[in-house]
């Protein structure tokens, strides 16, 4: 079927705008994947620094509360970072859901028998772990950032008049239910990260005969470091090694 001449002209002129053409490339499957990879790497970077910052629990009450006060003393930077993170999360989830729907459509009728030969557990559960991660992050924000679960404890101050983040965390992880939820959250985060990081390097086209092992190992390694760091905090408090 030949489209009419007028339509062809319009399409051609539309396509000649460089910006439109550029976004056209971004909305291809590969372009979307590149954006998902970049936003994911940004979020992974945040998760790593979040873990490193939290490790100050082991330096005691003063250190952690001073760190929290330091962050809250820069409201512009803090809120810019929060808005940027939210935008990155939105982009990451939006494009992923769009691709996931396209991927489902790419195989309307599945196999009666199907065996994976190589795919890791993490790679097969990215949509599930991603969705669970959203739930966990919402819970975490409600619990420790907004403090809606325990408002009275959340607004306590330490002897220096700073918000007692340390006391709040120690109080939280003495509750076995919260410990269980946070450990489960870490398991989900670890699974998601272990596939995601190496996968995003491949999506960005990073490949080299001598560095392939590094690229493929980077995901599981970073995931392990993040999970070990975070779990150490949770368990140290749960077992009373760190106490108020």
């Amino acid at each position: 079927m030949e489209p009419s001449g007028v339509q062809v002209k319009k399409a051609a002129r539309f396509d000649s705008l460089p910006m439109i053409r550029f976004f056209g490339h971004i909305l291809t499957s590969l372009g979307s994947k590149v954006l998902i990879a970049l936003s994911g790497l940004g979020l992974a970077g945040f998760v790593v620094f979040h873990m490193l910052g939290n490790l100050q629990v082991f330096e005691g009450q003063d250190a952690l509360n001073a760190y929290a006060a330091f962050l809250r003393d820069m409201p512009m930077a803090l809120w810019s970072a929060r808005v940027a993170l939210l935008a990155i999360v939105g982009l990451h989830i939006g494009l992923s859901v769009r691709l996931a729907i396209q991927n489902r459509r790419a195989r309307p009728a599945g196999y009666v028998v199907h065996h994976y030969r190589r795919a890791s557990l993490a790679s097969r559960t990215m949509a599930l772990t991603g969705s669970l991660l959203v739930l966990f992050i919402v819970f975490h924000l409600v619990h420790l950032t907004a403090g809606w679960l325990d408002p009275e404890f959340h607004n306590r101050v330490d002897l220096r008049g700073q918000r007692d983040v340390f006391g709040n965390i120690v109080h939280a992880f003495q509750n076995p239910l919260l410990v269980a939820i946070y450990l489960a959250g870490q398991a989900v985060l670890g699974l998601h990260l272990s596939h995601a990081l190496s996968s995003s390097l491949q999506t960005l086209g990073l490949e080299h005969p001598m560095l392939d092992r590094l690229f493929r190992g980077a995901g599981p390694l970073v995931a392990l470091l993040v999970v070990v760091g975070n779990v150490a905090i949770i368990l140290a408090i749960a077992f009373g090694l760190v106490h108020a």
């Binding site: 007028v6 499957s29 590969l30 790419a106 196999y111 994976y116 190589r118 190496s198 491949q202």
Partner: protein
């Protein structure tokens, strides 16, 4: 040898399709999987039933026609084509499930035969090079380094069988497109269309309804030609390069006097 076969039967594109169980006896261990299906078809013909439709051609693993998912793995348990798979690979008395490639872009024509012309349309979009007509160019006029030629040949060994699509959770054609784009991008003859090719073939791949790559590398695990997923990274690079290196005129182009819109 004796086998119980569960084979996907589907009368046509509109039919719903179902697995039908067949018993086969007196199969020689030296028979290839395709020859075993020939025996099934002889039995079906003698009984007056409709024989199985399945694809094969060269029977030596180079044409890419044979396309069966055997026990949930494209081309079966070994990393080769179905025609090079022998019945001795299966234990006597085994139950074997045989299905067609499954992807929206590969609609089933009948039984185990799917329409793979989506791959042809992707090739038409950019899997070509421009050559001048006239006398043949002297050999070795264009020097190509040995390692470069070998890497290009690794990619060029793709036989377009579509096992990568069949194995992929998302029915993605990335390994196929990656092999074709890489093959031509690695050679000097492929340079004139290099930028256009990466974008055109990726767009064609999306248009055909293939999914996107989840980097699970199931494709590499079933590829009968052992095409490496490192070519997928190469395709990603080619695509990024093409997006950034958008060729645009540096000077304002004069308006086309024959354009009807002004």
């Amino acid at each position: 040898m004796t086998f119980t076969l569960k084979i996907w039967r589907q009368n046509g594109p509109a039919d719903k399709g179902r697995l039908v169980t067949y018993q086969v006896r007196d199969i020689s261990p030296s028979m290839s999987f395709i020859e075993m299906l020939d025996v099934v078809n002889q039995q079906l013909t003698l009984k007056g039933e409709e024989p199985l439709a399945f694809e094969y051609d060269c029977r030596e693993g180079i044409c890419g026609s044979c396309s069966l998912v055997i026990d949930g793995v494209p081309h079966g348990p070994d990393r080769g084509t179905v025609c090079q798979l022998y019945m001795r690979r299966f234990p006597d008395g085994a139950t074997i499930t045989i299905e067609p490639w499954r992807a929206k872009a590969f609609p089933i024509i009948k039984d185990l035969v799917v329409d793979r012309s989506a791959f042809d349309r992707i090739m038409q979009a950019g899997g070509y090079i421009s050559v001048n007509t006239g006398g043949a160019v002297d050999g070795n006029v264009l020097l190509i380094g040995k390692d470069q030629a070998e890497t290009a040949m690794d990619a060029a060994s793709c036989i377009s069988c579509g096992a990568c699509v069949a194995a992929c959770k998302n029915a993605s054609a990335m390994l196929f497109v990656a092999a074709k784009v890489s093959h031509l991008a690695l050679l000097p003859q492929g340079q004139p269309e290099r930028t256009k090719r990466a974008k055109a073939m990726v767009a064609a791949m999306d248009r055909e309804g293939f999914g996107s790559c989840g980097n699970q590398y199931e494709c590499e695990a079933v590829c009968p030609k052992s095409i490496s997923v490192r070519f997928i990274a190469k395709l990603n690079r080619e695509f990024l390069r093409a997006t950034i290196e958008e060729p645009s005129p540096l000077a304002e182009q004069p308006a086309d006097p024959h354009d009807e819109s002004h």
